[in-house]
Subunit: 333 residues, 2 copies
Amino acid sequence: MRPAAPQSVTLHDVAREAGVSLITASRALSNPAVVSKATIERVQRAVEATGYVPNRLAGGLKSKRSMTVAALVPVISVPQFLPTVQTLTETLDAAGYQLILGQTGYDRARERALLETMVGRRVDAIVVAGLLEPQGWAERLRRLHIPVVETWDLTDRPVDLLVGFSHLKAGSAVAGYFLARGWRHVGVATADDQRAMQRHAGFASAVGRSVPTAIVKAPSTVRAGRTALAELLRQDPALEAVHCSSDALAAGVLIEARTRCIAVPQQLAVCGFGDADFAECQEPSLTTVRIAGADIGRRAAEMVIARGQGREVAERIVDVGFSIVERGSTASR
Amino acid sequence: MRPAAPQSVTLHDVAREAGVSLITASRALSNPAVVSKATIERVQRAVEATGYVPNRLAGGLKSKRSMTVAALVPVISVPQFLPTVQTLTETLDAAGYQLILGQTGYDRARERALLETMVGRRVDAIVVAGLLEPQGWAERLRRLHIPVVETWDLTDRPVDLLVGFSHLKAGSAVAGYFLARGWRHVGVATADDQRAMQRHAGFASAVGRSVPTAIVKAPSTVRAGRTALAELLRQDPALEAVHCSSDALAAGVLIEARTRCIAVPQQLAVCGFGDADFAECQEPSLTTVRIAGADIGRRAAEMVIARGQGREVAERIVDVGFSIVERGSTASR
DNA sequence: CTGTTAGCGCTTTCAG
DNA sequence: CTGAAAGCGCTAACAG
């Protein structure tokens, strides 16, 4: 015995049940301001009686709005973007949008394929972690009038909208912080992704020369931090300060230093990146670069919502900046 | 290549450009097996010339398949579920499905609202972290024939499909592991979410009495681990072994122990949960309970894909189990 | 306030 | 192998 699938409960059934026309039922649900109270009640009751759940795909076909937003991240398991994805989801959800997740895997080809998929799904906007490939879909997306919010990076010429900060400046700032304390034997432990490498470039340029560098494969891990410190000490046994491209890496450096009886910060200063929740609880607590990841997601969502309401976005490029959070791992010595 | 039309290029335009009928163009793209090679080529060229991107919403309306899957998690920023979400996304993506993300925030009311939203979007399946509320949408989803995969938990009567493990048994197993080593002064640091509390119940029942317990608010953090150890020592100054409901919590316990000059594992054994990437890199390396989170996501995706192809799923309840990964923090002493 | 008339862009019949 | 017709479930645009 197969149960009859009431899957086919449609607005039509609701209308008949309520004794009104299709469009009146539609309006009672989606634009009640123009329908009489009595009618709304009758439709409401019919909805309950039939167990009707509106089909948003059908509506979207006509209204040309899917109320979905694509979120493209390298890999979801990189904790860096999590606060951004969280506030993005929350803020959009409150406005009736749902997020469709895509993982590019740090791969431009997959990014292109995903963009095609998302455009095919007629998402109302695309939010991407990082910058889109300039030569790829950028022009096409512009012509299709799909709002694009690039995040976690900065450029003069975004595809459309941007909420981020300068990785170059962030790297320079940490270098400046080290130099100001008189540390000359400085090094960098960094992941090999584009943004981390840009911070590295900023760091090196502020120092004015190439510096000892350990490069690990993104996404970076605590384990990689341990091997990275070993590598850096090989390159410069007199190492005084290390900048790590993530707090996970920095945590690994702290552990490796302890096993080697290198006192932090007395013999070695360490600065991370990202201000992960565990940073301030390390021993010693970890100096790091704080990024307002949650703000990035919130502001990106607000831009998308504004565009959806036909409002123009005043500030098309938002620099949320960054700040160095000074803690025990770089305490003056 | 001519510039694409500003707004929407439809299959109609492609058909005209290729000099074939609408339906032939449709088949050339979605079911090329039944179309001649020459025609396919002409359609292909027309697609390129027009810059056509198929509208998957329109297709879904007729075919009743949206090729989307809802993923419901408490909050995306809890690292626990990340490997699951990652493999889920990847595996589904390879089969042409996209994931729509929903955050319940540990709140049943939001969960219900999200289910309604997702059903409205006509997702082809729902994957949820944890178990659905038995009295809520369960029956309704069954009637709608929407496949539901509950994960990261175990029950005899899932809504539909299940890939998980027993939290009760996991808690018992750690207790058994402690007792077998002769440790009697055992305690638990746990988050207050349902699954963690179940592990705690399993632990206590294996010990045979209530144990010193520090409860922290989910999601748990390294910081909470530090305060939790302080609390446990207050409850039992002779504490010999602690089970933590997450590796983050355990990392905090390790740090707090070090600042108090309590030697791990000599004076205090520590066991975490989840086998996070940083667990084996702690000092000492962290004994923990390993869950095959990536497998859970992959198997859940495979179930969804099977159902999508009309295949029945043989094993409706999959217990992926768990294993205690023995490391330095519980080395025999 | 309510109803009728047309579709949105595509895929499923069923015929050629 | 290709095509014509008939909608999927809903909402804009007008009329009443």
